[in-house]
C-alpha cells in the first residue's frame, strides 16, 4: 500500500512561506524573499509531481478503477451526532491533476515575478500573498468535504482580493478588487445555501458520501419540491451559482475583465489557471450528483457555458487592451469546459465530456498562463497595455515572440498542439449530445483563432510605432517560465487523459473523431487567415500589395473583392453589428443591473432614515405601535 501522508506538506509549505514572508519579509532583502517563496513552491511542485506519478503509475487499481484515498482526515467540529466537519487531503484523479496544474503554474509565476516585480514597492508582500493564494487554492482542490472546500473557496476569494488590489495606490485597481470580491461573494451565497440544503438531506459533507451510491440515492429520491423544481436540483443549481461566480460565467462574469488591473503575473495565476477554473472543478467534483440527481441542472450548465463562450469570444474581437483580450478569451475557454461538463453523461464513453473538460482545463492552464506571462513580458518591454502602441515587436522580443506564437497556435487548436486534442474531445462530446451547442462551438473556434492572431499580428508584426525606449527582451528569469510553458503547451496533448481522468475513474479508449477534427482545424485556419490578411500590415498596404501583384484583372478584382468581404464581415458586421451591441449590453445592462441593486439599497436606506428623528416621543410611538401591530397580527391572523 502506497502511503500518501506526505501530501500534507503540499499545504504546509505554502502557508509556512506566507507566515514567514508576511511576518518577517521586511527583514529580508526583497530578492531573498522572492527566492525563498519560489524555492518553497518548487518543492511543492516536485511533491505534486511525485504524488501524481505514484497515483497514476504505481498505485494498484481496484476493479480497474483508480482509488479514492483519504490521505488525511481529521474531525474538526462535531456539528451534531451525524454531521461532522472535517479537514483533510483527498486524493483522486482530478485532485491529483489539479495539484499538478496549480503547483506548476504557481511555480512559474513565482519565478517570473522575481523579474517582473523587481523594484516594485511591497515586493515581499507580493510574494507573501502569492503563497497565501497558492495555499488556499491547493487546500481547495484536495478538500475531502464540501465544507472544507467552501472555507478554502472563500480564502481564495480573500487572497485574490489582496492580489488584484496590490497596486492599492491606483483607484481602478482598488475598484476592481472590490468588484471581484463582492460579485464572487454574491455568488457564494448561493453556494452556501446549496451546501446547507445538500448536507441537510444527505446528512454529510464528505464527498465520498455525497457523491457515493448512498448520497446519490438519497438526493435522487428527494420528493420535496420548491417552486416546481426538486430540492436536489435547487441545491445543485445554487452550488453551480457559486461556481459560476468564481469561474466568471455570464452574467456573473463582469469582475474578470476589470480584475486585469492586478499585476500581470497575478492574472496568469488567478485568471488563467487556478481560481477561475475552481467553478469547473466544483462541478466536476460533484459530477455524479449532477448527472444522476439533477440532469436539468447539467443542461443549464451546458447552455450557460456555451453562451458565455460565444459571448466572450465576440467581445474579445473588439478589445485593444491585450490583457482584456486574454481575459475574454479565458471566459470563452472556461465556457467550453462548462459546456463539456454539461453535455457529459456518466461512465465510460458516455463520460467523454467530463474527461474532455478536465483535459481542456489542463492544457488551457498551460497555454493561457503562457499567454498571460508573454503579455506581461510585452508590457514590461513597451510599458503599455494597448496594442495600438505596439507593433513589430518580433525583432526585439525573439523568445517572447516565439513562445507567444506557440501559445496562439495552441489556443487556435492546430494539430498537433495540445489545444487541438482537448478541444477536439470537447467538440466530439458536444457533437453527440447537442448539435446546436456543437455548431456554436465551431463558430467560437473560428473566432478564437481570429482574435488571438489579430492580437499576435498587431503586436509582433504590423507597423512599428515610435518607441521612446528601444524595447528589449525580458531577463532569463522571466523567459525560462515562458519556454517551459511553451514546451508544456506543445506536448501536454499527448497525455493519455482518457486512461487517467474519467467520470467513473475507469479508463477507456478515446479516438480522434476526424469528422469533427478536420473542420475544426480548417475553421481555425480560416480565422488565422483573416487575421493575417487584415493585421499583418496596415490595411492600406494590404490593398496595395493586392493591386501590385498584377496579373489577371479579374484575379485582382476577386482578391480585392474577397478582401472587402472579409473587411466588411469583420469590421462592419462583427464589430459594429454584433460586438459593439454585445459590449454595450455588457457594460450598461449587466453592470447597470448590479449597480442598480446597490443604488436601490442606498436609496431605501436614505428614505427610512427619516424615522430615526431623534425625537423621543416618536420612538415611543413606534415602540407602542410595533407592540400593538405584533399583538394584532398574532391574535387575529395567526392560526
Amino acid at each position: 500500500m502506497i502511503n500518501f501522508s506526505y501530501t500534507i506538506w503540499i499545504l504546509i509549505i505554502p502557508i509556512f512561506m506566507f507566515l514567514l514572508l508576511g511576518l518577517l519579509g521586511m527583514k529580508f532583502k526583497p530578492i531573498i524573499s522572492g527566492v525563498l517563496g519560489t524555492i518553497g513552491l518548487g518543492v511543492v511542485m516536485l511533491l505534486s509531481y511525485y504524488a501524481a506519478y505514484q497515483y497514476f503509475f504505481q498505485l494498484p487499481r481496484i476493479d480497474d478503477a483508480y482509488q479514492q484515498i483519504l490521505a488525511h482526515n481529521i474531525t474538526w467540529l462535531n456539528l451534531s451526532a451525524s454531521l461532522q466537519i472535517k479537514m483533510g487531503v483527498f486524493i483522486d484523479p482530478i485532485s491529483v491533476m489539479m495539484l499538478v496544474v496549480v503547483s506548476t503554474v504557481s511555480f512559474m509565476v513565482h519565478l517570473y515575478s522575481i523579474g517582473y516585480m523587481k523594484g516594485e514597492k511591497g515586493f515581499q508582500r507580493f510574494f507573501a500573498f502569492l503563497s497565501l493564494f497558492t495555499f488556499s487554492m491547493l487546500g481547495l482542490v484536495v478538500a475531502t468535504n464540501i465544507f472544507q472546500m467552501y472555507i478554502f473557496w472563500e480564502l481564495v476569494g480573500v487572497s485574490s482580493f489582496l492580489l488584484i488590489g496590490f497596486y492599492y495606490e491606483r483607484p481602478s485597481a482598488v475598484a476592481a478588487s472590490k468588484k471581484a470580491f463582492i460579485v464572487t461573494r454574491f455568488a457564494d451565497l448561493g453556494f452556501l445555501v446549496g451546501i446547507l440544503l445538500l448536507s441537510y438531506y444527505t446528512k454529510s459533507f464528505d464527498f465520498l458520501n455525497i457523491t457515493g451510491p448512498v448520497g446519490i440515492e438519497v438526493t435522487r429520491n428527494l420528493t420535496q419540491t420548491f417552486l416546481g423544481m426538486s430540492v436536489a436540483t435547487w441545491a445543485l443549481l445554487l452550488i453551480f451559482m457559486g461556481g459560476a461566480g468564481k469561474s466568471a460565467m455570464f452574467p456573473l462574469h463582469i469582475w474578470l475583465p476589470d480584475a486585469m488591473e492586478g499585476p500581470t503575473p497575478v492574472s496568469a495565476l488567478i485568471h488563467a489557471a487556478t481560481m477561475v477554473v475552481a467553478g469547473v472543478f466544483l462541478v466536476a467534483r460533484l459530477f455524479p450528483l449532477y448527472s444522476f440527481a439533477a440532469p436539468d441542472a447539467l443542461t443549464v450548465i451546458a447552455y450557460v457555458g456555451g453562451f458565455t463562450s460565444l459571448f466572450a469570444a465576440v467581445i474579445a474581437c473588439t478589445q485593444f487592451d491585450i490583457k482584456r483580450v486574454l481575459a475574454f478569451s479565458t471566459l470563452s475557454q472556461i465556457g467550453y469546459m462548462m459546456l463539456a461538463l454539461g453535455v457529459s453523461g456518466y461512465g465510460g464513453e458516455k463520460g467523454l465530456g467530463y474527461m474532455a473538460s478536465m483535459f481542456h482545463l489542463f492544457t488551457h492552464a498551460m497555454f493561457k498562463a503562457l499567454l498571460f506571462l508573454g503579455a506581461g513580458s510585452i508590457i514590461h518591454a513597451v510599458h503599455s497595455n494597448y496594442m495600438n502602441e505596439m507593433g513589430g515587436l518580433r525583432k526585439y522580443l525573439p523568445i517572447t515572440h516565439l513562445t507567444f506564437l506557440i501559445a496562439c497556435l495552441t489556443i487556435a487548436g492546430l494539430f498537433p498542439l495540445s489545444g487541438f486534442w482537448s478541444k477536439d474531445e470537447i467538440l466530439a462530446a458536444a457533437y453527440e449530445h447537442n448539435k446546436l451547442l456543437f455548431m456554436v462551438e465551431y463558430l467560437v473556434a473560428g473566432l478564437t483563432a481570429f482574435y488571438m492572431f489579430r492580437l499576435y499580428f498587431r503586436v509582433f508584426w504590423n507597423k512599428e510605432p515610435h518607441y521612446h525606449h528601444k524595447p528589449h527582451e525580458s531577463p532569463l528569469v522571466m523567459t525560462i517560465p515562458l519556454m517551459f510553458l511553451a514546451i508544456a503547451s506543445i506536448f501536454a496533448g499527448f497525455l493519455p487523459f482518457s486512461k487517467m481522468i474519467t467520470s467513473d475513474r475507469l479508463p477507456f479508449e478515446s479516438e480522434t473523431n476526424l469528422m469533427v477534427a478536420i473542420p475544426s482545424v480548417a475553421i481555425g485556419l480560416v480565422g488565422i487567415l483573416i487575421a493575417f490578411l487584415l493585421y499583418k500590415k496596415d490595411n492600406v498596404r494590404v490593398e496595395k500589395i493586392v493591386k501590385g501583384l498584377g496579373g489577371v484583372y479579374t484575379t485582382i478584382y476577386n482578391k480585392f473583392y474577397i478582401d472587402e468581404v472579409y473587411m466588411f464581415v469583420t469590421k462592419k458586421i462583427i464589430f459594429n453589428l454584433i460586438s459593439r451591441p454585445v459590449a454595450w449590453f455588457d457594460r450598461h445592462v449587466v453592470d447597470g443591473f448590479m449597480n442598480g441593486i446597490a443604488g436601490v439599497t442606498v436609496l431605501t436606506s436614505r428614505k427610512i432614515k427619516g424615522a430615526q428623528s431623534g425625537q423621543l416621543q416618536h420612538y415611543a410611538f413606534f415602540f407602542v405601535l410595533g407592540a400593538i401591530a405584533f399583538a394584532l397580527i398574532f391574535i387575529y391572523l395567526w392560526q
Binding site: V174, I182, R185, Y619, F623
Partner: protein, 473 residues
C-alpha cells in the same frame, strides 16, 4: 446560608464583594491619587473572573427563584471576560483629568449593572427576572450620561431612562397578563399551565416587545442609535455587547423553557422580527459615518442573526446562539477597542478620519480589519462559524427563505464593513491620524480580543463544550 448555597451563588456574591471593596478603597485613597483605584479594580475583577472558571456547584435556591446550571455559569463567565476587556479598554479614558474624581463611580455603577445581569440570567421566576433586568438597566442609564458635561451624553442618559421605563412598563404589563392567565410566576409552573388564548398571546407579545427593546430588535430599536452615539465609547461597547448578549441569552432560555408549548407561534414572531432587524439594521448601518453609530447599527443587524439560532429551537440552535455571542464579544470588542483608542488619543470618531490610517498605525488597522472580517463572517475567522451555525440551525427547521434573506443580508453587511477597511487601507489622506503609542491596558485588551477571534474559530473544544451543555425544547 451554608457554604453550598454560597457556592451556587458565588458569581453574584463575589461581585458584590468586588463592588464593596472598590467602594472601601475609594474611601481610603487621597483625592489627588484617585487613579490608584484603576489597578485595584482591575486586579479584583480579574481575580473574580478567574474564580468564576473554577468548577462549582449548580442548583436551585430560594424556593426556585434562583437557579443555575453549567450553561448559565459558562455564560456568566463569557460576560465576565467581556467586562474585563471593557475595563481594560476604559482604563486610559478614566485616567483623563476630567474623570479623575469619578473613577470609582464608573466601576461601581458598571459592576452593579453586571450583578443585575447575573441575577437576570439565573432567574427561575419572572419576579427575579424582572428585578435582575432593572438592576442591570438603571445603572446603565447613569453610565450613558457619564460624560455629563457633554450635551450628547446627557441626552443619551435621558433618552435611555425614558425609553427603558416605557419598555419596562410594557414588559410588566405582559408579565401581569401571564400571571393572570396562569396563576404563577415560576417558570416551570407557567410552562405547565400555559394555554394559548388571545389574552395570553397579548401578554406574550408584550413580553417579547420588552425583550426586543433590550436586544434592540426592529421596530423596538430606535433608542439605540442616539444612546450609543451619546454615551462614552466604553459604555457603548458594554451596552452593545454585554447587555445585549445577556438579554438575548435569557430571552432564549425563557422561550425554550417557559413558552415551549407555543414554539410554533414564537417561531413566526421571531421570523418577522429577524427579517425586519437584519434588513433595517443593515440599511441604517450603510449610511453611518460616525464609527460609534456605525458599530451600533451593525450590532442591530447582528442581533437579527441571533434570532435565527433561537428559531432553530433545538440543541443545535442554543449552541449556535451561545457560540455566536462568544464570537461576537471578541469581534465587537476588538472593533470598539480600536475606536476607543483612537477616540481617546485624538477625539476623532468619523469614518473619514480613518482614511489612510494603515500608513501611520498599521497594527491598529490590521486588528480593525480582522474584527470587521469576523463581524462580516468571512472564513476562516471565528465570525464565519458563528453565522454558519446560526444558519444551519434555522435551515434544519426548514426556514429556507429566511436563511436566504439572512445570507443576502450578510452579503450586504460585507459591503459596509469593507467601507471601513477601504478607508483605512486604500483611501488617500494627506494628514492621516498621527502615529501614536497605545497604553499597556489598551494593547492587552486588543491582544485578548485577537487571540479570542482566532482561538474560537480554530479550536473545536469550545464549540463541543457549549454543545454538551446546551439543550433543546
Amino acid at each position: 446560608m451554608n457554604l453550598d448555597q454560597f457556592l451556587i451563588m458565588r458569581h453574584e456574591l463575589l461581585l458584590i464583594g468586588v463592588v464593596l471593596l472598590v467602594l472601601i478603597a475609594e474611601l481610603f485613597i487621597k483625592s489627588d491619587k484617585k487613579h490608584h483605584v484603576i489597578p485595584i479594580a482591575l486586579i479584583l475583577f480579574l481575580l473574580y473572573t478567574i474564580v468564576g472558571f473554577l468548577p462549582a456547584k449548580t442548583g436551585v435556591l430560594f424556593g426556585g427563584m434562583y437557579q443555575t446550571s453549567e450553561l448559565v455559569i459558562l455564560f456568566k463567565n463569557i460576560l465576565n471576560v467581556a467586562v474585563f476587556i471593557i475595563l481594560l479598554q476604559s482604563a486610559s479614558w478614566l485616567r483623563k483629568d476630567i474623570n479623575h474624581e469619578r473613577i470609582s463611580e464608573f466601576y461601581i455603577i458598571l459592576l452593579s449593572s453586571l450583578i443585575g445581569m447575573n441575577f437576570m440570567i439565573s432567574a427561575g421566576d419572572f419576579l427575579m427576572f424582572y428585578l435582575g433586568l432593572e438592576t442591570a438597566t438603571i445603572p446603565l442609564t447613569a453610565l450613558a450620561a457619564f460624560d455629563k458635561y457633554k450635551n450628547k451624553s446627557a441626552e443619551a442618559g435621558i433618552k435611555f431612562i425614558l425609553s427603558s421605563a416605557l419598555s419596562s412598563g410594557i414588559l410588566l404589563f405582559g408579565l401581569s397578563i401571564l400571571y393572570g392567565t396562569t396563576g404563577s410566576i415560576y417558570f416551570t409552573e407557567v410552562a405547565e399551565k400555559l394555554v394559548a388564548s388571545p389574552l395570553l398571546v397579548l401578554g406574550f407579545i408584550f413580553f417579547v416587545s420588552g425583550m426586543s427593546f433590550k436586544i434592540s430588535l426592529v421596530p423596538f430599536h430606535f433608542w439605540t442609535a442616539d444612546v450609543y452615539e451619546g454615551a462614552p465609547v466604553n459604555v457603548t461597547s458594554f451596552l452593545s455587547v454585554v447587555s445585549k448578549g445577556a438579554a438575548a441569552f435569557i430571552f432564549m432560555v425563557i422561550l425554550f423553557t417557559v413558552f415551549k408549548s407555543l414554539s410554533n407561534m414564537w417561531g413566526d414572531v421571531l421570523y418577522l422580527l429577524s427579517i425586519l432587524t437584519m434588513t433595517i439594521g443593515n440599511l441604517f448601518a450603510m449610511r453611518q459615518k460616525n464609527m460609534k453609530r456605525f458599530l451600533a447599527f451593525s450590532s442591530i443587524a447582528q442581533a437579527g442573526f441571533i434570532l435565527l439560532g433561537i428559531m432553530g429551537a433545538s440543541e443545535l440552535g442554543m449552541t449556535s446562539v451561545v457560540y455566536f455571542v462568544l464570537v461576537y464579544v471578541f469581534s465587537n470588542l476588538a472593533a470598539f477597542g480600536v475606536v476607543s483608542v483612537i477616540s481617546d488619543k485624538t477625539g476623532l470618531e468619523s469614518m473619514d478620519d480613518y482614511n489612510g490610517m494603515y500608513r501611520t498605525n498599521p497594527k491598529l488597522s490590521l486588528i480593525m480589519m480582522l474584527a470587521l472580517f469576523s463581524l462580516a463572517g468571512i472564513p476562516p475567522v471565528a465570525g464565519f462559524f458563528g453565522k454558519f451555525f446560526l444558519f444551519t440551525s434555522a435551515a434544519s427547521k426548514g426556514y429556507y427563505w429566511l436563511v436566504l434573506i439572512a445570507v443576502l443580508n450578510a452579503t450586504v453587511s460585507l459591503y459596509y464593513y469593507l467601507l471601513v477597511v477601504k478607508a483605512m487601507f486604500i483611501n488617500k489622506n494627506d494628514a492621516p491620524i498621527a502615529k501614536f503609542k497605545s497604553t499597556f491596558t489598551d494593547r492587552l485588551a486588543l491582544i485578548i480580543c485577537v487571540a479570542g477571534i482566532f482561538a474560537i474559530g480554530f479550536a473545536s473544544p469550545i464549540y463541543e463544550l457549549i454543545r454538551k451543555l446546551s439543550f433543546g425544547l
